[in-house]
């Protein structure tokens, strides 16, 4: 019921356009409008995909995943370090939002610095 009527892509919507049907453009992918893509979230997932591709290329160039025992006393490979970096980035962003609030891009910078140290030492 709710999701049967199809409207235009999400990015063009503002509060003023609530409830108004839009003309269907050439690039309206009706079958995925329910996924509510925005360019920001798409950019995020493209970034994740790029990370995975980069890791694959890295693994091709230097196979084995460079395992080592890091400062946490854990045996980690490159993949583990990427996982830890991404998960920490999530927590850094959430912590920033919850404790500080504005200027979230600083949290992003902190996350990248943190990821660098994770890849270097963990």
């Amino acid at each position: 019921m709710i999701f049967t009527k199809l409207y235009a892509a999400a990015e063009t919507n503002t509060w003023g356009s609530v409830g108004k049907a839009k003309e269907k453009g050439f690039f309206d992918f009706e079958f995925i409008t329910w996924m509510a893509w925005t360019w920001q979230t798409a950019a995020f997932f493209i970034f994740i995909a790029c990370c995975l591709i980069a890791m694959t290329i890295w693994e091709k160039k230097k196979p084995g995943g460079s395992p080592r025992k890091g400062i946490l006393g854990l045996d980690t490979t490159r993949g583990d370090r990427l996982f830890v970096s991404l998960l920490s980035a999530a927590y850094i962003h959430l912590g920033w939002l919850g404790l500080i609030g504005p200027m979230l891009w600083i949290a992003t910078i902190i996350s990248f610095i943190f990821a660098f140290f994770v890849f270097r030492y963990v």
Binding site: N13, T38, T41, V84, L87, L104
Partner: protein, 288 residues
């Protein structure tokens, strides 16, 4: 002999990949998309940025639900793990008793979760249920539909009834894998029952217990069906654990944005705990 490199085997992975894409990756991406937008249905979405995350992180309701969830998980872990080990230790080691015990132990695990909830709901009803009626007849003022303490007691009791057997079965498997030579050596040394447990049985059960704790943690942390059928999260919000609260927000109030933000935070917590346990298990593997 030179092996030819053949990557065609990757095609066999495609079905699994498609399956995972449809039941995990695409829904998860959608949740991420929803977490940044407001919607009133009809596929109309308005960009809200990080507003929902901020709202959830600062919301009393989320803190309360998370607190209840952690408390519940800790309570059932502290009951089920020791109780499970204890039952496994007292189970017979040979003879017909083994099969009887194993079958009896598996019974609760085979019952669908909503049936468990319904069973316990009727069992605990204060006027007609066996448990509720008996408790009231004994002079306890018991009513799980109205008193939050009783609701907690019933929910915990139900979970212990349902899932302790899993810990028992895992611990029992761990105990059976210990060579008799260890016990013989302990007997020669004149070790007490406690030191046999502390220095032989417990270390040997470490691997299975890690898995048992992980499974029990995850299942109880994501518990939904049983308390939903038993108490529906009530009375009030007394037993509204994270999943119940999440569904209330997403489907009850149709607040898809905040619910999506909440599920992502929930997801990160679960992911972190999984990662910690995974590393613990890998350490155990490395030691043996």
């Amino acid at each position: 002999m030179n092996k030819t490199v053949n990557q065609k085997a990757w095609f066999f992975v495609i079905p699994v990949f498609v399956l995972v894409a449809f039941n995990a990756i695409i829904p998860l991406m959608t949740v991420v998309n929803y977490a940044f937008q407001e919607t009133f249905g009809n596929n109309v979405f308005m960009w809200e940025g990080t507003r929902w995350f901020k709202q959830i992180l600062l919301s009393e309701r989320f803190h309360a639900a998370l607190g209840r969830q952690i408390l519940f998980t800790l309570i059932i872990l502290f009951i089920q793990i020791p109780l499970g080990i204890f039952i496994a230790l007292t189970m017979p080691k040979e003879g017909i008793g083994v099969s009887v015990c194993l079958v009896l132990m598996s019974m609760p695990l085979l019952i669908p979760w909503n049936v468990v909830g319904a069973m316990w709901n009727i069992f605990a009803l204060p006027d007609i249920g066996f448990l509720g009626h008996s408790l009231n007849a004994l002079g306890f003022d018991y009513n799980f539909t109205q008193q939050s303490g009783d609701a907690w007691f019933t929910t915990v009791l139900m979970d212990v009834w349902h899932w302790t057997s899993l810990v028992v079965l895992l611990s029992y498997a761990g105990l059976r894998s210990i060579q008799p030579a260890y016990y013989q050596a302990a007997e020669i040394d004149g070790a007490s029952r406690w030191s046999v447990f502390r220095h032989i049985e417990l270390p040997k059960m470490k691997k299975v217990l890690t898995i048992a704790i992980l499974l029990r943690f995850m299942d109880s942390f994501m518990i939904y069906t049983e308390p939903f059928v038993l108490t529906g999260g009530g009375p009030g919000n007394a037993t509204a654990f994270l999943s119940i609260d999440l569904v209330k927000m997403a489907l009850g109030q149709f607040d898809l944005g905040p619910a999506a933000a909440m599920s992502l935070i929930y997801f990160f917590i679960v992911l972190t705990v999984c990662w910690v346990f995974y590393n613990l298990m890998m350490k155990n593997e490395g030691q043996s």
